[in-house]
């Protein structure tokens, strides 16, 4: 072996070594976690991941179509800003900077719930595909969580007065069904917390307001 080829071989072996360490760590972590699950849990997991994949495929198709439209507009020197306006409005609404209206559900909670249970209701609505959520008029965006003692709850720092009213935009039957199914979250909460009642009403139209807080990061910067 020539003088220069030894270190090269070493570099290759070390690269392979690093790769294998990562592969080993990843595969062990993922598969060991899965091996602990029951058939029922694995089936639920497959359904969950499949749903996200379907949404991602739709998103890819939408974005590719959009990309073609923009490319075509650019090619024809078309000063079409309508696509950008539409994108902007869409992202602002999705992220909470704009209000959202549409069909959905109203969830009314009477009685005293701990902050964490309120978070669970929000989490369940998100999992069922809610597109925008507000609690007693406060839009739920990242960073806005319920806090405090059950009798002195706050949301995003503002006091919450009973009854709690959650409004969520989304497919009404899916949202309602996810909360009220047998053994679901509503059943769990009402059996666990005495005096709590939860009513879920599908709505033809709900209006979720925009967030009043700034969504702009103050400390982080885009990673290029």
């Amino acid at each position: 072996m020539g003088r220069g080829r030894g270190p090269l071989a070493l570099a290759l072996v070390l690269a392979l070594l690093g790769f294998l360490v990562v592969v080993q760590a990843r595969s062990q972590g993922q598969e060991q976690g899965l091996a602990q699950l029951s058939v029922q849990d694995l089936t639920e997991l497959v359904a969950n991941v499949t749903t996200r994949n379907t949404q991602l495929r739709e998103e890819v198709a939408t974005l590719q179509q959009q990309q073609q439209q923009v490319a075509s507009a650019v090619q024809h020197g078309d000063t079409s800003t309508s696509q950008m306006r539409s994108d902007l409005s869409h992202i602002l609404a999705w992220s909470g900077a704009l209000g959202v209206t549409g069909q959905g559900v109203q969830v009314t909670v009477s009685g005293s719930l701990p902050a964490f249970a309120v978070g669970e209701l929000v989490n369940e609505l998100r999992n069922a595909g809610a597109e925008a959520i507000a609690l007693n008029g406060v839009r739920i965006v990242p960073g806005v969580t319920a806090a405090g003692d059950p009798d002195h709850l706050t949301i995003g720092g503002q006091p919450l007065v009973s009854p709690l009213i959650l409004l969520a935009v989304g497919q009404p039957e899916t949202l309602a069904g996810s909360l009220t199914r047998a053994g679901g979250l509503v059943a769990q909460l009402t059996s666990q917390y005495v005096g709590v009642s939860v009513r879920v009403d599908p709505q033809g139209l709900v209006v979720v307001p925009p967030s009043s807080r700034s969504l702009t990061p103050a400390l982080g910067r885009p990673r290029l």
Binding site: L14, Q24, V46, A132, I140, G170, R221, R223
Partner: protein, 255 residues
């Protein structure tokens, strides 16, 4: 012996390193092969194809997420160069970029911390619930909520950005974030002020979590405060299928 010592000294350093690296490589290959065996035996006939399906779907998901990010980047690139710098277009483009940053659609870097949650090393008592000794979705959600309360401005869980639509779901002993299966240990990364860690550890909710999960069941809670932390972009759907924006605060088209 003197001859042997002299011979060893004459071996170039890279050869020694190469030898050690090859040794470690062999060990890892053997470990990888050995690891396949017990896991295959451990899974039942029904579970094996299901585990394979989950892993396959997750792999497809990684590819789809990359396609979403690539398409978004391509559109942004086209929009930024396509209009010859017209004032309205530039303003719209800047607004669009800022909206994407605010929505979590852009990877970010900044000061912050990482909290790692790992399953308990304690053996579950025979009359106990083994699930109590595993990190649950509820544990991850608690840490996320506590970090928001401590001033975090952006959070990710094992490479999944926490955005407005993020749900953390518990399925058996596994945790699903944004519809993606994430494997333990769970790293919750947050961008926030330098004081975030001190604030977090002073919060009653975090103290309760450490007591009820760390001390009672041995759930591992470790943290790191690197100079900077990175958050990935959210690579998921931002579609509104049932809702629409209530108003359109866009710049005027006129001069």
């Amino acid at each position: 012996m003197t001859w042997l010592a002299g011979r060893i000294r004459s071996v170039p350093t890279w050869q020694v390193t190469l030898g050690l690296a090859l040794l470690a490589l062999g060990f890892l290959i053997a470990a990888q092969m050995a690891a396949e065996g017990p896991r295959v035996q451990y899974t039942s006939q029904e579970r094996t194809p299901l585990v394979a399906t989950v892993l396959d779907l997750q792999k497809q998901q990684d590819g789809l997420k990359q396609q979403v990010l690539d398409a978004r980047a391509a559109i942004a690139q086209l929009e930024s160069v396509g209009e010859g710098g017209a004032a309205v277009t530039k303003q719209l483009n800047d607004q669009l970029q800022q909206a994407q940053i605010n929505a979590g659609l852009v990877a970010m870097t900044g000061p912050g911390l990482v909290i790692q949650l790992s399953d308990s090393a304690l053996p579950a008592p025979s009359d106990g619930n083994t699930q109590d000794y595993l990190v649950s979705g509820r544990d991850v959600l608690t840490v996320v909520d506590q970090l928001w309360a401590a001033g975090a401005e952006g959070i990710a869980i094992n490479g999944e950005r926490v955005v407005v639509s993020t749900a953390v779901v518990d399925i058996g002993g596994s945790v699903v974030v944004n519809g993606a299966y994430v494997a333990p240990p769970y790293q919750v990364t947050a961008i926030g002020p330098k004081t975030m860690f001190d604030t977090l550890t002073r919060q009653q909710g975090f103290a309760d979590f450490i007591r009820s999960r760390g001390e009672a069941f041995g759930i591992g809670v470790a943290y790191a405060t690197p100079d900077s932390v990175d958050l990935p972009a959210y690579a998921g759907s931002v579609n509104l299928r049932y809702g629409r924006a209530t108003s359109t605060p866009l710049p005027s088209t006129g001069p």
